[in-house]
Symmetry: C2
Subunit: 573 residues, 2 copies
């Protein structure tokens, strides 16, 4: 882990790097302006906080992050989680709401930094891919539906599917037609831009690279067009909700006064936001790094994202993380180093100084359309099919995550997903697969008697245990072995084949002792084979090996050779 990974590229920074990074920065800036405003809206915060969250955090990540091309800032899922958490302790639009969002960025930043320093990056491993996909899919659906209120021009609230839909339905009679027309037009145009603009420009003779970059700037056209419509048709007088007054200028570096109780109220939410943001960011970073044979250092990423969130908090922003779409744009536009992010931050700062007066007229419906179109790419229904096809327990984990997120909201949703996937994994290990095995003819290999045509010996049963033995499956093991033995009255030797037993804990050791004792009373020896070195080390520290009625064999083959009944001597006349 290096303190400043940026030093690596600063030292060798070339003119070519500069020109590539500058081009990428211009394109990312154009894309980030509407995104920043939109995600501030999604989080229920004033528009300027979106801009503030896209300046200093980019610089902090640029200096500390291990990815060369990741672009940090407000992202959809984290903004939704912020709205959900902050909404529980303050009313949207109040001063307390903005303060709580800043506190959330600070707390989440400190948690990420702490986890990075303590090298707790491995915690993110407990979010399985199905859970993450399911969570992001469900969040995308909630985000899209939550933005319908801005498209319809009605007040509606809720942080899960049921409350959102019922609230929208109740407020539907108050819908504002002009807002609806603007919102639908913007949505349709943005959807067309995504698929139709680039081919059109190419047919008009633009090179493919330029055409696809121009297409990424689609949201900017919509913003310009709807601002124009808003001014010309006097949207304000016709009741269309506008972004309104956005303070001009750069953020001041200061933290608001937080009460002490806010920390405990936000702690769980901040932890969840930190972990989700980290996982999302690292998965984007890994994908991009793999394309250029670069590497991501997870614990360094924790430090960098922590610093970015703290930077966001002290400059009046809200929680940020590495975003997928902006990072891909940055990468595709040719960014070579994190200098591109620094230039983009300067671009946003200029926008905050120069463009804010114009934003007054921007309809919120336009931003909502941007968000809806952006989140459609988050929705990954294929994961359900893929998981169903591959394994029932992966499918169950996705299904629980999606259902819980839609019905209970983001926080309980992600928690349910994590607990369900851990629970399902543990449950599998409580009733381990055990196979009776026999020798594969012509080899020294032993396989399941039910799957392959194998050779077994009378008086011997070889049982392969397909799991580590620990407290949660020790009593199941006992029951199974007694059942196997009860079915075979002629039995002389039991061989437990242990290549899949990676640990035997104290509870399981006691059960093995009991099994050994009980089998011995019935005149049956208990033998082990293919016990791993690390497991043998443990057994040698106990007195189990002295008690054992049979032996421990290096290989299953040797065990069967040693224990099989002697050949019947030929009868000699």
């Amino acid at each position: 882990m290096k303190l400043f990974p940026a030093l690596e590229w600063v030292r060798t920074y070339s003119r070519l790097d500069l020109s590539s990074d500058l081009l990428a920065a211009v394109i990312v800036t154009i894309m980030l302006i509407p995104q920043s405003l939109a995600y501030a809206l999604l989080a229920g915060l004033p528009a300027e906080m979106g801009l503030y969250a896209s300046i200093l955090p980019l610089i902090a990540y640029a200096l500390l992050g291990s990815s060369r091309t990741l672009s940090v800032g407000p992202v959809a899922v984290v903004s939704l989680m912020t709205a959900s958490a902050v909404g529980k302790i303050a009313t949207e639009g109040s001063v307390g709401y903005g303060t709580a969002a800043i506190a959330m960025a600070l707390l989440s930043g400190m948690m990420l930094l702490g986890m990075g320093i303590a090298r707790f990056g491995f915690l993110a491993n407990f979010l399985s891919h199905p859970v993450v996909s399911g969570f992001i899919t469900a969040s995308g659906i909630i985000i899209a539906i939550s933005q319908l209120r801005h498209i319809l021009g009605v007040a509606a609230e809720g942080d899960n599917l049921l409350t959102l839909v019922s609230s929208l339905w109740l407020h539907l009679p108050a819908l504002n037609t002009l807002t609806l027309i603007t919102g639908i037009a913007a949505t349709v145009f943005l959807l067309w831009v995504r698929s139709g603009l680039s081919p059109l420009l190419q047919r008009l003779g633009m090179p493919q690279f330029a055409a696809s970059l121009v297409a990424k700037a689609g949201p900017v056209f919509v913003i310009v067009a709807t601002i124009a419509a808003s001014v010309l048709l006097d949207y304000e007088a016709r009741g269309v909700a506008l972004v309104g007054e956005v303070p001009r200028g750069l953020p001041t570096f200061a933290l608001p006064d937080f009460g002490l109780e806010i920390w405990s109220e936000l702690a769980v939410s901040a932890l969840l936001i930190s972990i989700i943001g980290f996982v999302e960011s690292v998965s984007v970073g890994k994908t991009l790094a793999a394309k250029r044979r670069q590497r991501i250092e997870p614990n360094q990423e924790l430090v960098a994202l922590g610093a970015a969130n703290i930077a966001s908090a002290i400059s009046g922003g809200f929680p940020v993380t590495g975003g997928f779409s902006r990072s891909v744009v940055n990468f595709d536009a040719g960014a070579r180093t994190q200098a591109a992010s620094i230039y983009a931050a300067i671009g946003i700062a200029i926008a905050a100084l120069a463009l804010t007066p114009v934003l007054y007229f921007l309809p919120k419906a336009t931003l909502a359309a941007t968000i809806i179109v952006a989140v459609t790419s988050l929705i990954d229904v294929a994961i359900l099919r893929r998981a169903w096809h591959y394994s029932r327990s992966d499918f169950t984990a996705v299904a629980i995550t999606i259902t819980a997120t839609l019905l209970l909201g983001v926080e309980l949703g992600v928690l349910s997903g994590i607990l369900a996937s851990i629970g399902l994994h543990l449950h599998k290990s409580t009733q381990p697969h055990m196979a009776v095995v026999g020798g594969v003819p012509g080899t020294e290999h032993f396989r399941n008697v039910e799957r392959l045509d194998v050779v077994t010996q009378p008086g011997i049963i070889s049982i392969r245990i397909d799991e580590s033995l620990y407290f949660a499956n020790a009593s199941y093991l006992e029951t199974c072995i007694y059942n196997f033995v009860a079915q075979r009255p002629e039995l002389k030797h039991v061989i437990l084949m242990c290549p899949a037993v990676n640990t035997i804990d104290l509870s399981a050791l006691e059960v093995l002792e009991a099994i050994n004792h009980r089998l011995a009373e019935q005149g049956i020896t208990l033998n082990l084979s293919e016990v791993k070195g690390i497991v043998m080390d443990g057994l040698r520290r106990s007195d189990f090996l002295q008690q054992l009625s049979g032996k421990v064999f290096l290989t299953q083959h040797q065990a069967v050779q040693a224990l099989k009944p002697d050949e019947i001597e030929p009868y000699i006349i």
Copy 2:
């Protein structure tokens, strides 16, 4: 699972069964009277509730339980847990306190019954033996210290070591000398009875069996003696706390009015009491059943203990479970069927009718002495040494359980223990052991190159993965394999030897796909060997096998034979 296991022995009940069971019942009754009173005191409840909890629950268990000799009633640890849970919502001595204890028995009974019907007995497996031993040891210490207040004759409160000791210290100046003398005398006598009475009686010519049974009745002597002292020396006037008025007669069958909110307040505590009570009871039942080659059916036990607790609630008792000491006495006294428990219940009922006036004079210090002497047998410090010696993670689980129980109280203690043991188990699987393996000369067996003298082939690395692959260790696997490969520039083939891989979940499958892809780019093939049938079934449902750059081999031996470089052709002149 049978509805009434009692039918089995009722059908064949003989005169010999009757005489054996009657003798055992008399002895158990004599033992149960002081125990019932003492555990009511420990739970902070009036003495008669102890008697009530020892009548109907015994009959309910006798009809439904699968153990022939288990004796159900109030036990030390469950009484302490009741006191701890009920003390949080009501003041000791208030009507609400007794009502809450009854509600706890009812709720716990319904939970046990529900778990039994749903066949959730496996849940108890998540309590590892080290955690149970640690928890019971720490509970025994807390119980002993909590009873010191009755020996000292002071008011002291607390549900963990720190609060108890500091409260005792604060109240020490108010100590009552006569109470202290009575308490110490009773304790010393009981300790002597345990070890010294039986040998003395044998020297006086009593047969060993009778002598050891009389010794079990030690608490009764102490009760008779201290009641006599209390009357003769007028303890009441001298400020010694007495049991006082105990209502005469049998319990009425009625449930008090509970508020609705009491259920949610008690739910978590009731679940913990249910699980601890169940685990304790089943472990006693198993131990006794093994001695007579009988069997315990865990789900039937849940049903029977559930019914016993519901029976306790409707007859004005508090939570009960199968107790170790009373069951052992019942067994040793020769009980052959659960009829012995029914006779004992009748014995306690007679006591409730006849003896209660005398109990008025019984000093609480006597009961406290009974408890202290009883719980010393719960304290199992050897488990710490045994766990330390066998494995660090078992030791950590015991140490966390003991420390948390002593410092945070019983509920947080047992929860910490369960979470710690599951967490430690999961943590082990997140960084699985991986061994580079080679062939053991003269066999087809492959073992760790660092442990045995084995043969490896140039250009091939064989890595044995000692864990199932799932989301929590997928990224660790990726890092490890890349590191192995990076150290060996001449590599042509990677063989993952999978005898210990019991599952590959979707997250791990995706990582394997990524590894396969990346190795292929470097001109290295990825091969698998000894993949279990159940894992292959999963891989066949995905398109991994089509993508795989190498092959899947039945055995590691065949894999190496197929991939090893061809012999160099002899140069022919």
